[in-house]
């Protein structure tokens, strides 16, 4: 009765611009044998994995704190997809108990701001549609460690990011099945299932984010990541996926999805994750940390790797457009004075994914300042420098990500 007649056909067509077939995406390469991580993280890497992610690949990770764990640059690989065992962790507050994934299909989501609001189980959501999207999941603070002002927060380098395959129901199909949005709604507001203890104002810590309703086009409610149930540590049983947006916007263990007239006034939306000019406090008048920008970086050779042997070197890294597919990547070996076009390696997985790239170079002994710079399909070029901001968010500048490699 609430189903639009063309809905089933639409599901079959999978019209989302990020949709893709995953057949053939196998064989994730490993490059861990090459180098240790960079110096600033060396001390942190000595910490053991916390028990809730004991299943991860400790050799691939840098443990900053029990809730902030970064993938080593050398473990990002050339296989295009980031294995769950290597994927970074960043939790704003403690996760709900792991028992919530004992019966995944029973997890309940309240959908509001639609004509027929109601609560649906994951089992019900699975009847409404299915789509798969490859998407870069990148912490809003990835690259914070390269801002000159040294903003507070984890000093992520490049490894608070991964490229992952998500499967779930298109959010637009859920909204349509519930009669469509109520009039005047401008945002999609998701609320995480974390329990907030008595005695503190929930608004100060609740994980609740709003994104523009235009994101309805490609957003998913995902129960699979890389072909397996979404791990609890990454938001299972159900995670909101907003392709092209930074990590904080993909609400884990989502329990409420509301179309809303206004942005939530939760602190995580109002006074955090804002692009505040340096020296000012974050507030709702400033741009929210939402869509990601074109960004690329080199993973090999890594900074601080001992001298690289002269001769042919396969310089490789990853490149993303943020919201548009990467079209080309240039690599500089002289700090940005001259550039050479690199080659993409591996499949094109759409506008929200990253692509590994390689530049083969015959290097003579000397010091090389290496940098990469991506151009997306719309001609947007990765910026040279992202201005410092109070929170240290969305650092995409190629110069900040450049480093010196010695060849002997």
């Amino acid at each position: 009765m609430n189903n639009h007649p063309d809905l089933a056909r639409r599901r079959l067509l999978a019209t989302g611009s990020g949709a893709l077939a995953v057949a053939g995406l196998t064989g994730v390469s490993r490059v861990t044998a090459q180098t240790p991580q960079t110096a600033p993280a060396a001390a942190a890497s000595q910490k053991p994995l916390p028990p809730y992610i004991a299943w991860k690949d400790a050799d691939a990770l840098i443990v900053h704190t029990p809730t902030t764990v970064e993938t080593k640059r050398t473990a990002l690989g050339t296989g295009a997809i980031t294995p769950a065992e290597r994927l970074y962790i960043r939790n704003n507050i403690a996760a709900p108990d792991v028992s919530i994934v004992a019966n995944r299909d029973a997890w309940q989501l309240s959908v509001e701001g639609v004509r027929q609001p109601r609560t649906l189980s994951v089992a019900e959501l699975k009847t409404l549609g299915l789509e798969t999207v490859a998407m870069v999941l990148q912490c809003s603070g990835n690259g914070r460690g390269y801002f000159p002002s040294k903003p507070n927060g984890t000093k992520w380098q490049v490894g608070a990011a991964g490229n992952l395959i998500w499967s779930g129901v298109p959010l637009r199909a859920v909204v349509e099945s519930l009669g469509g949005p109520t009039a005047g709604m401008r945002f999609i507001t998701g609320t995480g299932g974390e329990a907030v203890p008595a005695g503190i104002d929930p608004k100060t810590v609740i994980v609740e984010r709003s994104v523009p309703i235009t994101a309805l086009g490609d957003a998913l409610l995902a129960w699979e990541m890389n072909g397996a149930p979404v791990p609890h540590a990454h938001g299972g049983p159900l995670r909101l996926i907003v392709p092209g947006y930074s990590g904080v916007n993909h609400i884990k263990y989502i329990k409420r999805l509301a179309l809303t007239r206004d942005e939530t006034d939760a602190a995580i939306q109002a006074t955090r994750y804002r692009l505040a000019p340096l020296g000012t406090k974050e507030n709702p008048s400033q741009p929210a940390v939402w869509e990601m920008d074109p960004k690329s970086w080199i993973n090999y050779p890594a900074p601080d790797v001992g001298p690289v042997k002269r001769g042919w070197v396969q310089i490789h890294g990853v490149a993303m457009g943020g919201t548009q597919a990467p079209r080309k990547v240039d690599v500089s070996l002289d700090g940005g004075t001259t550039w050479r076009e690199a080659s993409f390696i591996g499949p094109n997985m759409g506008r929200y994914a990253w692509r590994p790239f390689v530049l083969q170079a015959d290097l003579k002994p000397g010091a090389y300042m290496m940098a990469s710079r991506v151009t997306d399909s719309q001609g947007r070029v990765q910026v040279e420098t992202t201005p410092d901001n109070t929170g240290g968010y969305l650092n995409s500048g190629w110069r900040a990500h450049a480093f010196t490699v010695n060849v002997a």
């Binding site: 029990p66 403690a94 602190a267």
Partner: protein
């Protein structure tokens, strides 16, 4: 009166008082710190995090992540809680 240089024990008492009672909301609602009998779970366990004193000062003054700043605490209260948390969690020994 004899002027007594504050011992670690006396400082700990003052810091524990700020941690459990003077700070509003209480640090113990969100954080675990065995020495204080605190078992909060929503924020990082301080026994695991083991922050040093400057890190505690920074967090209390400016807030960090989901934790709001505590502008109502005095400088001496902040110094007391920072040295206490650093010592009680093991962060001071790092």
């Amino acid at each position: 009166m004899v002027c007594v240089i504050a011992s670690a024990g006396a400082t700990d008492d003052a810091g524990r008082q700020v941690f459990l009672k003077d700070a509003t909301p209480s640090c113990a609602i969100c954080h675990t710190l065995a020495e204080a009998g605190a078992t909060g779970k929503i924020g990082p366990s301080l026994d695991e995090l083991k922050p040093d004193a400057p890190r505690v000062v920074q967090a209390v003054k400016a807030g960090i992540g989901a934790m709001p700043p505590y502008p109502q605490l005095s400088e001496s209260q902040i110094q007391a809680i920072a040295s206490y948390v650093a010592r009680a969690s093991g962060g001071a020994a790092k």
